[in-house]
């Protein structure tokens, strides 16, 4: 058990203990339906709007003044989202709430690093995400395997293990880096909590704000512009083949999966390999069909990630590659 205090629950309202706390204090949904609580519904709605705009709720304010309201507005926001039933909104809200909690976790880790109080943030990390964090000379220490599992999802070079202090199977991090590492999981945790809640019928007083949320969500339908240019890794692979030089297996795999993902057929792709020094039409066709999933077990192979290509020395990134993690994303830009 975590045994958080009320201030802790205001910071981390997604903890199971928050619900218990409210129950113990005698709050229930019927009560919240009373017009007296209208400001709370507004606060909850505001909390979602701020989150969906990519900001962190409460980040411009000082210390938490009314912990009960903080906890309640989170719970009501969850009810509104649940009633609206739009996944995009829930995901955005979960991530923003994760970032809000991340700020508090970081503060708690840092300001209490030499006190007993440190227990709570470390316990949250440990119990929710099964990551054991210890403190050593003002640094936070986790196992290499725990680090890798999370850090591989970041694409900034500084998160590569080689750019970290690593000793004896442990990675040394700052408070900020420690919580940053679990942000995605925290978001997923909050998201899954919201998904798992069973919602009874909601009070009338909530309904107009639920409608507003449905309206709000229309803003987030994706508009994507696609350019027809290939990324430099694919261009390189094509060039090597055109020159009749040997492209390693991993390079051929990249080319095939990329072009298949772009909608080309095996018939269109096969001729590209004609110049390969070991070209064999039958084998090429068999392999392309296998990769496309039209033969064999039917598994359709995905284009390898930029990370994987970097490790295989097949990445020739240019500035236009910034922000992508897979070659198939190259040239796709969101309109908004």
């Amino acid at each position: 058990m975590l045994h958080p205090g009320i201030m802790d629950l205001a910071k981390y309202p997604f903890l199971a203990e928050a619900g218990e706390y409210l129950r113990d204090k005698g709050f229930n949904l019927e009560q919240l339906a009373h017009p007296d609580w209208a400001p709370l519904v507004e606060k909850a709605y505001g909390r979602i709007v701020v989150a969906t705009s990519g900001q962190i709720y409460g980040s411009d304010k000082g210390p938490i003044e009314n912990p009960d309201i903080e906890i309640l507005s989170f719970i009501v926001a969850v009810i509104l989202l649940k009633a609206a039933g739009i996944n995009t909104l829930t995901r955005r809200f979960s991530l923003a709430e994760a970032r809000r909690a991340e700020r508090y976790l970081q503060q708690d880790l840092w300001s209490n690093k030499d006190k007993k109080n440190l227990e709570l943030p470390l316990k949250i990390i440990q119990e929710l995400f099964r990551v054991q964090v210890t403190v050593e000379n003002e640094e936070f220490v986790i196992k290499v395997s725990d680090y890798l599992q999370r850090a591989v999802h970041f694409h900034e070079k500084e998160w590569k293990l080689v750019n970290r202090r690593v000793t004896g199977g442990l990675v040394y991090l700052t408070a900020h880096e420690t919580v940053r590492l679990i942000r995605t999981e925290l978001g997923q945790y909050i998201n899954s909590k919201i998904q798992s809640i069973a919602l009874p019928s909601i009070p009338e007083t909530f309904k107009s704000r639920v409608q507003d949320l449905v309206q709000l969500a229309t803003k987030f339908s994706d508009a994507i512009v696609v350019s027809s240019d290939h990324p430099p890794c694919v261009k390189h692979a094509i060039e090597v083949l055109e020159k009749g030089e040997n492209l390693p297996h991993s390079g051929r795999f990249l080319l095939a999966t990329y072009l298949l993902a772009r909608g080309q057929t095996t018939d269109q792709i096969a001729p590209l390999f004609k110049n390969a020094p070991d070209y064999n039409e039958r084998v090429t066709r068999y392999q392309l069909e296998h990769i496309s999933g039209s033969s064999g077990k039917g598994t359709k192979y995905q284009c390898p990630s930029c990370d994987k290509l970097r490790s295989e020395n097949l990445c020739f990134a240019i500035p236009d590659c910034s922000g992508i993690i897979n070659p198939i994303q190259f040239g796709k830009k969101r309109k908004n």
């Binding site: 196992k143 290499v144 395997s145 890798l148 599992q149 850090a151 591989v152 070079k157 500084e158 590569k160 293990l161 080689v162 750019n163 970290r164 202090r165 690593v166 000793t167 004896g168 199977g169 442990l170 991993s250 077990k297 598994t299 990630s305 990370d307 994987k308 970097r310 490790s311 295989e312």
Partner: protein
């Protein structure tokens, strides 16, 4: 391999397995692993389940495979198709191969083997000097320098595994690969569940790939000597310091120079250092969490040598300790332009000569495509 040579090679392999069951055994958790094998000139047969040494030895006697493999991964159902195996984790494995070390000696023992006239000529050529064909393969034969340099990489790897990654020496098994390098297997529960993408990052760590100058104390501006690594620090910072400064007394002057040279120069310097301190493993092997990897104790059909454990790397001589095929004489015609040394005896060079040599040497040259039975 030519049909007439297969008999000799298979015989030698069968005899080896029969006499050396003690050297060939299943790894830990055998029932959860996938096994596979190949026969000479045959395709790969995999998705096989083997429960113990007895079953393994039976397979060896029945099939006389030229190469035997076993997964680094553990599965609930190892004999099912890949998508239904249910992956449960995998040992961390590393492959160090002399051919990846860009050694200058490679030119001295690389043999050009023509695909058309089958002639074998020393050195690297773009076309056959005899018949002009551009179809060829390059064969490499036993070289002490290649082995010594591979050993150095293996030792550096074992040290990093211990010091940086917390993998104790007792959890690390080093094997001669059976041809020109070493295989390293880690049995450590902390790393079993690490996925492929994570292993790619781990391998970049080991190879010292993807480094930022900032990690070693040099930013794009406002640099100070105090943030540079110091000799004696742990991990890559310490190794970089040793490489940059050599000794503590030389450090202050060199550090001053680095700070004044700036970011780009330091980046170039780090890239240079990477060539010497980064460990040259084959990244594809470590990243692969479904690989079937050569089984310890089995024969490698690229050479006829065995994959054997190396208890003491310094004293290990693969051309003696892993050369375990029979001693009886076999008559072959050898076209081997380089001298080879097996079991402390020298063979060749031979120019299409009919010779009588021990079976291990005959198989070695046949496997390399440099000899054929009379």
């Amino acid at each position: 391999m030519l049909e007439k040579d297969i008999g000799l090679v298979e015989n030698a392999i069968k005899e080896y397995y029969f006499n050396h069951f003690d050297l060939v055994s299943v790894p830990p958790k055998p029932t959860q692993r996938e096994f596979g094998y190949q026969k000479i000139n045959g395709g790969m047969i995999r998705h096989i389940a083997i429960k113990d040494n007895k079953e393994l030895h039976l397979l060896l006697m029945k099939e006389i495979p030229s190469d035997v493999y076993c997964s680094n991964a553990y599965y609930s159902f190892p004999s099912m198709p890949m998508s239904e195996k249910d992956w449960k984790g995998a040992d961390l494995i590393f492959d160090i191969d002399a051919k990846d070390l860009t050694l200058s000696c490679r030119n001295d023992h690389a043999i050009f083997k023509c695909g058309s006239c089958h002639d074998a000529i020393l050195g690297k050529h773009s076309a056959c000097p005899k018949c002009g064909s551009t179809k060829f393969e390059v064969v490499s034969v036993a070289c002490k320098n290649c082995i010594d340099e591979s050993k150095k990489e293996a030792k550096k790897l074992v040290q990093i595994l211990d010091e940086d990654l917390g993998i104790k020496n007792e959890e690390v098994e080093v094997y001669f690969s059976g041809n020109e390098g070493f295989h390293i297997r880690v049995i450590n529960s902390n790393y079993e569940m690490v996925g492929s993408q994570e292993r790619a990052d781990l391998v970049d760590y080991i190879m010292f790939n993807g480094i930022m100058p900032e990690t070693f104390g040099i930013r794009k501006q406002n640099n100070f000597k105090s943030t540079l690594p110091e000799i004696g620090e742990s991990g890559w910072r310490g190794r970089v310091a040793t490489s940059l400064f050599g000794s503590k007394t030389r450090a202050p002057k060199a550090a001053k120079q680095i700070v004044s040279d700036g970011y780009l120069a330091f980046q170039v310097k780090l890239d240079e250092i990477r060539q010497t301190i980064g460990i040259k493993v084959d990244p594809k092997v470590t990243m692969d969490i479904h690989r079937i990897f050569r089984l310890e104790g089995s024969v490698n059909s690229k050479s006829g040598l065995s994959k054997v454990p190396c208890k003491n790397l310094d004293d290990f001589d693969p051309f003696l300790d892993a050369c375990l095929l029979g001693e009886e004489k076999a008559d072959i015609i050898a076209n081997c332009p380089v001298q080879i040394r097996l079991k402390n005896k020298k063979y060749g060079p031979y120019a299409n000569e009919r010779i009588s040599v021990p079976k291990y040497a005959a198989v070695y040259m046949i496997c390399k495509g440099l000899a054929s039975i009379v």
